[in-house]
């Protein structure tokens, strides 16, 4: 499918990760324009008018977030969240490995807009290649005079630091990320105060996702009206959707928001593999409720997906076909949260263990009639009772799976086995 790429530009321009190639294709011109034609507040206003929303999952308007910084003269920081680890999501990895300069250019423009002189990229520990690419690209940007003192004679100075995590999904939660960046365990902080008021080292800090910041250079180049010409009024612009599961072409797809889910699956990702039939779709990463096939015509924008009963989240779209056991899928996702719970809050720490245990025995054919009630009860005791969103995230898929596929859960008890014959290798308890 031919299209013009704005975020995944390396697909059109090989080697765009090299600064010379990036510049030959208009790279760092948006920075030049921003520094010479805009005051910082005007850039914040531009991003507000573009309607750009946080692409990490929450979808909060980026310009509005920038506007929360207190004007009290304290140093401010920009922190880019590249701790991508939400099952089903793999867009930021592609961006940092192949198009790192667009992120760096976006960081410089964003830092100028919010008047920050230090910016950080927090890269998950598993992204060794991404970390190396970013470190290399940052050095190139220094050598070219786009970082350091008095950038392009604007009087604006900025240093960028690339920091590597060491394996912890929770560090994608912004306050846990800041803890980790300060050399501590990645336990989330109490909010408020939000990072905009007291963030990194207690200073006003903006934490934005990689994809969010990668949108900033094209918005400066083409304008807010260009951005709002795509998508809907409340969800304008571009989004990268990561599609995985039994489709013909799994991968990242850059789409205008409000593209129908059906088009993403059938056209972009090439439809389900031969002989597979759609069972359900997780549209926005492992933390969101599933959508059944009757919702395939839902436009992929924040409001429509919410109305359909799920969330656009990070854009990690996992396709499940009819051969997949819903209990096994639920177990796998709950187990993920069990492993990744930081252990601070009892409902999350204990609840994810209970749910994973019950799901495992159901899948083994050892469940009882009470198990569905137990799952629902435990989920209810997690819901809204944890310090950070990880607890709630652990029940999103499970609760929707029980609602939509109750028969299949019950069949596991009734028949004393998995009706789909799914094999369980991970049998720590039985």
């Amino acid at each position: 499918m031919s299209q013009t790429y704005y975020l995944l530009r390396h697909r059109e321009v090989p080697e765009i990760g090299q600064i010379a190639v990036y510049r030959a294709h208009g790279g760092y011109e948006a920075l030049r324009k921003a520094l010479s034609q805009y005051q910082p507040e005007e850039l914040v206003d531009l991003v507000k008018r573009s309607g750009l929303r946080g692409r990490g999952g929450a979808g909060f308007p980026t310009g509005v977030k920038w506007g929360f910084l207190p004007k009290d003269g304290r140093p401010r920081y920009l922190v880019v969240n590249s701790d991508e680890a939400e099952p089903g999501t793999f867009k930021d990895r592609e961006l940092i490995e192949h198009n790192p300069h667009q992120l760096i250019e976006g960081m410089i423009i964003s830092s100028y807009a919010i008047r920050a002189n230090e910016a950080y990229i927090y890269c998950r520990g598993e992204f060794l290649k991404g970390y190396e690419e970013l470190s290399r690209a940052v050095q190139e940007a220094y050598q070219a005079g786009f970082l350091g003192e008095n950038i392009l004679d604007s009087g604006f100075s900025l240093d960028i630091f690339v920091y590597r995590g060491a394996g912890a999904y929770i560090c994608g939660e912004e306050s846990a990320l800041l803890e980790s960046l300060e050399g501590r365990r990645g336990n989330p902080r109490l909010k408020p105060p939000f990072p905009a008021v007291a963030g990194l080292y207690g200073m006003p800090t903006i934490v934005n996702n990689v994809e969010t910041i990668a949108n900033v250079p094209p918005i400066v180049t083409y304008g807010a009206e260009w951005y709002t010409s795509m998508g809907t009024e409340k969800s304008p612009g571009l989004k990268i959707m990561s599609v995985s599961g039994p489709v013909n072409r799994p991968g990242n797809y850059e789409i205008p928001l409000a593209t129908p889910l059906r088009q993403l699956i059938e056209d972009y990702a090439g439809g389900l593999k031969e002989g597979r039939r759609l069972k359900c779709i997780i549209p926005g990463g492992s933390s969101v409720p599933l959508l059944t096939p009757d919702k395939l015509d839902t436009p992929l924008d924040y409001e429509s997906i919410l109305q359909a009963g799920s969330m656009l989240g990070s854009g990690g779209c996992i396709v499940l076909d009819e051969s997949v056991c819903i209990v096994k899928a639920s177990h796998r996702l709950v187990k993920f949260y069990r492993e990744e719970s930081c252990g601070k809050c009892t409902p999350c720490r204990e609840g994810t263990y209970w749910m994973a245990d019950v799901l495992e025995r159901l899948e083994m054919g050892l469940g009882t009639q009470d198990d569905l009630a137990i799952l629902t009860d435990v989920a209810d005791n997690i819901n809204g009772k944890c310090f950070c969103p990880l607890g709630d995230a652990s029940i999103g898929f499970l609760v929707s799976a029980i609602n939509h596929f109750r028969d299949e859960f019950e069949a596991h008890v009734r028949e004393g086995r998995c009706p789909l014959g799914a094999k369980v290798y991970d049998t720590a308890n039985y």
Binding site: E126, Y163, G186, F336
Partner: protein, 155 residues
Amino acid sequence: MKPEWKEWAQEAKKQFPRANSALLPLLHRIQRAEGWLSPETLTEVAELLDLSPQYVDSVASFYSLFFKQPVGKRVIHVCVGLSCMLAGSDELMHALEERLKISQGQTTPDGEYTLLEAECLAACDLAPVAQVNLRYRGPIPPEEADRLLTEEVSS
């Protein structure tokens, strides 16, 4: 303590504006050289950064990529996330366990291989995916499990 660690500690402190941020980079660097972080190493890191050994231990134990036991020359992380499960990661893990005669979480007695589960490597387009010493390999269908044991990986 290795003589070069002092220098590395100074470099880690200088790498970031605040010295607090030096701990993870220093642990990464030492682990890369030593393979793992022994209790003695953690105590020495604490000394180098003026932190308490308990603090360094508690931080190191939080993160799954810091190894507090010796690992093999080849550390294989098999992604067991949902997308990889759909593509056969359980069978891939099972094949590796059979081939290496160890369970996930263990190291072969000859010290060559460590087999670990990874919770979503953010590479679902390559499912089933694995990392060998943090370098991506995928897709690796279960019947090609041996590739993870033999193919060259960059350092």
